[in-house]
């Protein structure tokens, strides 16, 4: 389960395609409990990633991820920019040693938690990354259905981080948009079959 440069590129291109397709849906998810821009934010970032990686060669997965991190950090802004940016930055560091999925996802998770000063059950993307890391670390297979379920689990949570936290109890009943986009990212990763 170690990722090659080719696989990593496929992963990111698939994610780009999915974001383009789901842009409106992600912003719609962000409307009742956020500020309605998550789809636009992610699309802005992944368009830059796509432009920078599709015709470029990368010596290593680490180099590729570094480029992705920089694009996301400098193009997305908002909350998701630093979070996804940090995730890829941490994955880039780890990939210099290992491209095992469990190592990469664990590094990303740690970065997101530190950057967001957040933990599980706060109705954020962490509620997707964390169970994902857990399953991989206990060497369990992760299906797309599993990931869908992680995403879905945020629906009943009360937000205590990010914009949705301003709503308190009123945030219940809505899927977290960052959890949804993280779901797309991790499902695309699973599909690559590394």
């Amino acid at each position: 389960m170690a990722l090659t440069v080719e696989q990593a590129k496929t992963w990111l291109e698939d994610f780009y395609t999915e974001i383009e397709a789901q842009k409106q849906y992600l912003s719609d998810l962000d409307t009742p409990i956020g500020d309605g821009d998550h789809g636009n934010n992610m699309a802005r970032g992944m368009t830059a990633v796509h432009e920078d990686i599709s015709d470029a060669d990368f010596a290593s997965v680490s180099d590729l991820f570094k480029k992705v991190a920089m694009d996301l950090i400098s193009k997305v802004g908002g909350a998701s920019g630093p979070l996804y940016g940090t995730a890829f930055l941490e994955m880039s560091k780890t990939a210099a040693g290992s491209t095992e999925l469990k190592d990469l996802v664990s590094a990303a998770l740690a970065g997101i938690e530190k950057r967001g000063k957040a933990t599980t059950n706060e109705k954020t993307m962490i509620d997707v990354w964390s169970p994902m890391a857990e399953k991989l670390n206990s060497d369990e297979a992760v299906s797309e259905a599993d990931i869908d379920q992680f995403v879905e689990s945020t629906k009943d949570m009360v937000a205590t981080k990010g914009r949705a936290s301003y709503l308190g109890e009123r945030s219940v009943g809505h899927i977290d948009p960052g959890a949804m986009s993280s779901g797309y990212l991790l499902k695309a990763l699973v599909k690559v079959g590394a």
């Binding site: 500020d35 400098s74 802004g77 909350a79 920019g81 630093p82 979070l83 940016g85 981080k161």
Partner: protein, 334 residues
């Protein structure tokens, strides 16, 4: 659905075109930092040997923040996409442009995006040995404060922070002085708003929320974050009663206390209404036997085309704060 009615060209390009327009029509006060949507003081002399003050955030709050760049106030401001925090690389450029050797102080509004992006920029600056400190402003009392949440939002009261720190930096305060000062100011600024209509983000094309023709919402944020109550439109005096009541509960007003007051229009509310509202606020504060030592009225921290008003109070515990508020500045909008 109502079509968006704005004087723009491409909804995806509003920020660069706005920043261009702003810089080109105020070239004596601000200049663009190359390859960014950030502006820095044109008057470099005024920054020499002083700590730089950098702020910024999503666009759509004009004249905040670029309108407050200039001698005596901000050194630079970073303009993010509409209602979206700017990115660390741009903030970092603003930090570099503001640093004349004495370090840079960041004024951040408390939104998770802003906090994270500014923190990353701070990391980048520290890697290049630029000393950076910061304050996170959270003056909006509409949201319950709790350790279990993101905390309160930063809104128009942030301008008090900009003004006080800008004046102190202008007078030669060190980075540590500014940090101490910011901690003194922070608990004493509080804001509460009322909205008469929602704001339309150009790229979204429809209002973030809608209110009936006779409805208002108390406690709305500057990005259309939902407030705490909707009710029928009230006369100005009744709005003041509600909003000052909220502030009173937070500050625990005591007769004889001194306050500075900002009445801020949200974008589509005419100055006439803002002055009428201020008139009622001053009556109410006089009833509470408070002394008003500074006042400001206008569209200062807007929310695109939202109609509504916010009321910010700053409790003055040290008369030098009044000097800071009255310190002369040369900006576009203060």
């Amino acid at each position: 659905m109502r079509q968006m009615k704005k004087i723009i060209n491409d909804p995806g390009n509003v920020v660069p075109e706005m920043v261009q327009g702003l810089v080109r029509s105020n070239s004596d006060i601000v200049e663009l930092i190359p390859n960014t949507e950030a502006v820095v003081r044109a008057d470099k002399e005024s920054m020499k040997g002083k700590v730089g003050i950098v702020s910024g955030g999503g666009s759509g709050h004009e004249p905040t923040h670029a309108g407050f760049v200039g001698k005596g106030m901000l050194s630079a401001a970073v303009c993010g996409e509409v209602f979206t925090s700017p990115t660390p690389d741009q903030i970092f450029e603003a930090i570099k442009a503001s640093n004349t050797g004495s370090g840079v102080f960041l004024v951040i509004k408390n939104y998770s995006g802003d906090v994270m992006n500014f923190e990353m920029a701070q990391d980048m600056a520290e890697m290049e040995d630029i000393p950076v400190k910061s304050v996170v402003v959270d003056d909006d009392i509409a949201v319950e404060n709790s350790t279990y949440t993101q905390g309160r939002r930063g809104v128009a009261g942030t301008l008090f922070m900009h003004k006080i720190l800008g004046a102190a930096a202008d007078l030669g305060a060190s980075l540590d002085d500014l940090e101490a000062l910011s901690k003194q100011v922070l608990p004493n600024i509080k804001t509460i708003a009322v909205a008469l209509s929602g704001a339309t983000v150009p790229e979204v094309g429809k209002p973030g929320f809608t209110l009936a023709d006779d409805e208002i919402e108390y406690g709305v944020g500057i990005h259309g974050e939902p407030g705490y109550r909707r009710e029928k439109l009230q006369p100005s005096k009744a709005l003041v009663e509600e909003l000052v009541g909220k502030l009173k509960a937070e500050f625990n007003f005591k007769p004889g206390e001194k306050y500075a007051v900002i009445v801020n229009g949200m974008g589509a509310t005419p100055l006439m209404e803002q002055y009428i509202f201020m008139n009622d606020v001053l009556d109410k504060l006089a009833d509470e036997k408070l002394e008003v030592v500074f006042t400001k009225v206008g569209n200062l921290m807007t929310s695109l085309d939202m109609a509504g008003i916010s009321l910010s109070l700053f409790k003055i515990e040290d008369d030098r704060m009044v000097d800071g508020l009255k310190h002369e500045v040369k900006t576009i909008a203060w």
